[in-house]
């Protein structure tokens, strides 16, 4: 159990490619932090620098107040779960889990106790005598976690641990990781490219791109108030609709004018704009698919559009619609909201009217792509 502090951490490869730019982050004791971002954003590299598997080109990494830059991985008090599990193929599951304890010269009876204990928690007791290749993907994953568990480490590192599993198993393991976290009660740093994993697991999410941190915040924060366009589009599925439009300021009120409609930016957001004395002009308007609703043609601010594709997801419906000037938007509607007649009318080519409320809007500067409200 420990805090982790990264100060100006930098990674430059031999060919002068910078993988991570001055990375600053303080992770509190027992916090669950998720690094998320597209591939090549430097999230794994950062994790590996914390683990000591990658040399730190600049800055310092502290674990529990001690600078660990020059320490070997084994001396940093960490445990790690690898993406491809990295189970030792020539050892049984028992030996795999016991490996680190044997290296530490823990007495065999203690090893036995700890290994069986961990196996029980993970439900792999009956596989202890098997070799890794005789296990399924999910079982291997558990062994990998078990191997990290028995180490009593200060920090628990996980590098895309679920990405090799199929969708169903992934959901199940995700829930188990939450349980595991409650049991272990230690500091977790978790790397993934999947925003759903990040949202469901994290206390705090670190969103990265091209070696830079784009935003750090709780799942609520990054979802409700993305710092910039990248975060806005990255978090949430299907991704946020982005509309090029204009912001008008009339009589102290703000309006946006997407597709000919004129919708007021009201509530907190309007106030925030006023507080910041934002001037009108070009903006990028972001609206999440679930915040768009279908309306009648006569409704206020109705925007006409044509249905192109409809995807039935079960509990909800994803409608891909084209506005009159050819912009593609995605609308997400709970299936329950529709009656049979309405559902039948949703065929490709159908004429629809959509609108959204001011409080659901995100506004970004088209130049800097920064959130105007943040």
């Amino acid at each position: 159990m420990a805090s982790v502090k990264l100060t100006d951490v930098k990674k430059v490869y031999d060919n002068n490619v910078v993988a991570v730019h001055d990375f600053n982050l303080e992770i509190k004791d027992k916090e669950f932090v998720v690094f998320v971002g597209p591939s090549g954003c430097g999230k794994s590299t950062t994790l590996r620098m914390i683990a000591g598997l990658e040399e730190i080109s600049g800055g310092t990494v502290e674990i529990d107040g001690e600078v660990v830059n020059d320490l070997q991985p084994k001396d940093r008090g960490i445990a790690m779960v690898f993406q491809n599990y990295a189970l030792y193929p020539h050892m049984t599951v028992y030996d795999n889990i016991a490996f680190s304890l044997r290296l530490k010269k823990v007495p065999e009876d203690q090893i036995y106790e700890r290994v069986t204990n961990a196996a029980e928690i993970l439900g792999i007791t009956e596989y202890l005598m098997r070799k890794p290749r005789a296990l399924s993907g999910g079982q291997r994953q558990r062994v990998a976690i078990g191997r990290a568990m028995v180490r009593d480490s200060k920090v628990f590192l996980m590098d895309e641990p679920l990405s090799n599993l199929d969708a169903k198993l992934r959901n199940q393991m995700r829930a188990e990781i939450i349980l595991l976290r409650q049991k272990l009660d230690t500091t977790f740093i978790y790397v993934t490219h999947d925003q759903t994993e990040a949202m469901t697991l994290a206390d705090r999410i670190v969103i990265m791109k091209d070696g830079y941190i784009m935003q750090v915040g709780t799942p609520d924060e990054v979802f409700d108030m993305p710092d910039n366009l990248f975060v806005a589009e990255f978090i949430g599925a299907p991704k946020m609709n982005i509309i090029k439009t204009k912001l008008l300021q009339e009589n102290g009120k703000y309006y946006v004018t997407p597709f000919g409609a004129k919708i007021e930016v009201d509530g907190d957001k309007g106030k925030a704009l006023a507080d910041r004395k934002v001037k009108g002009g070009d903006v990028l308007l972001g609206v999440r698919p679930e915040h768009i609703e279908l309306v009648k043609a006569a409704a206020p601010h109705a925007i006409p559009c044509k249905l192109v594709v409809d995807e039935m997801m079960g509990s909800e419906l994803h409608l891909h619609v084209d506005t009159e000037d050819g912009n593609r938007l995605i609308v997400r509607i709970p299936t329950l909201d529709l009656d049979k007649e309405q559902r039948k009318a949703l065929v490709s080519g159908a004429q629809l009217y959509i609108t959204f409320e001011g409080k659901a809007m995100h506004l970004f500067d088209p130049e800097s792509e920064k959130n105007l409200l943040a």
Binding site: A51, L53, K74, M80, N84, A86, Y88, F99, S100, L103
Partner: protein
Amino acid sequence: MNNTTEKRHMGLKALNRASNTAIYILLVLISVIWLIPFIFIVLQSFRVESTYQVGYVIPHQWGLKNYINLWNSDFKRWYLNTFIIALAAAVLTTIIQLCMSYTLSRFRFKMRGPLMRFMLILGMFPGMLTMIILYRVLADLGLTQANAVPGLILVSVASSGMGYYVSKGFFDTIPKSLDEAARVDGATRLQVLYKIILPLAKPIVIYTILTAFMGPWGDYVFARYVAMGTSAGYNVAVGMYSWLSADQIGSWYTTFCAGGVIVAVPVTILFLCLQKYYVEGVTGGAVKG
């Protein structure tokens, strides 16, 4: 099924059968061509009526005279020399090559790239060039002629690090995350090597031992150079080559065949036992290089 498709079906089958038959014939032919010289050697080694080359293969008189002849010649000494060299090379070369290939596969240090490039360039020089000086150096150390064996071991082992390609290719196929997991688990690099990597590298270790052991049996040039005409320092290749010189072949030809059998049989048996590993090494490591 209508008539034409049935015909097409039959045609395909017949074609396949014909081509398979052709392949069998070819394979039998190939097997014969590849095996016949060795069968000839064995047969001629039992020929007692004459010691020179003749125009037939099956001996008119069978006997072990050639093998007795072999026993009475210096062949014993040569065989022992070669065996010692092969054994020493198998142990030492394997250690050196594994050190080299493991390091180059697993560690990323500043000089790694330049080192590998340097060795690539070094390998473009004909090795024979160095023979002259190595001979003089060995002569100064007193490791030539009758003492050729330690000299040959020294020279063949010393440069063996250059032949790291095959085993490095194999090490590269072992996921690096295993090393990393073990290091996080608390293993030193040394422990990673002997607790994780070596158990997984068994095929390539056996391959390296096998090739290192087989090499010296065919080593001719440098062995001849170092022995410099002193029979006690010959290995089998040098010794038996001398039997085939124009003035010796008449009286030693069949003995040469007998010697060939004695040399080839143990090596071949060993090889066939470990064939699996050899194939794995060649197909796994050799191509990736």
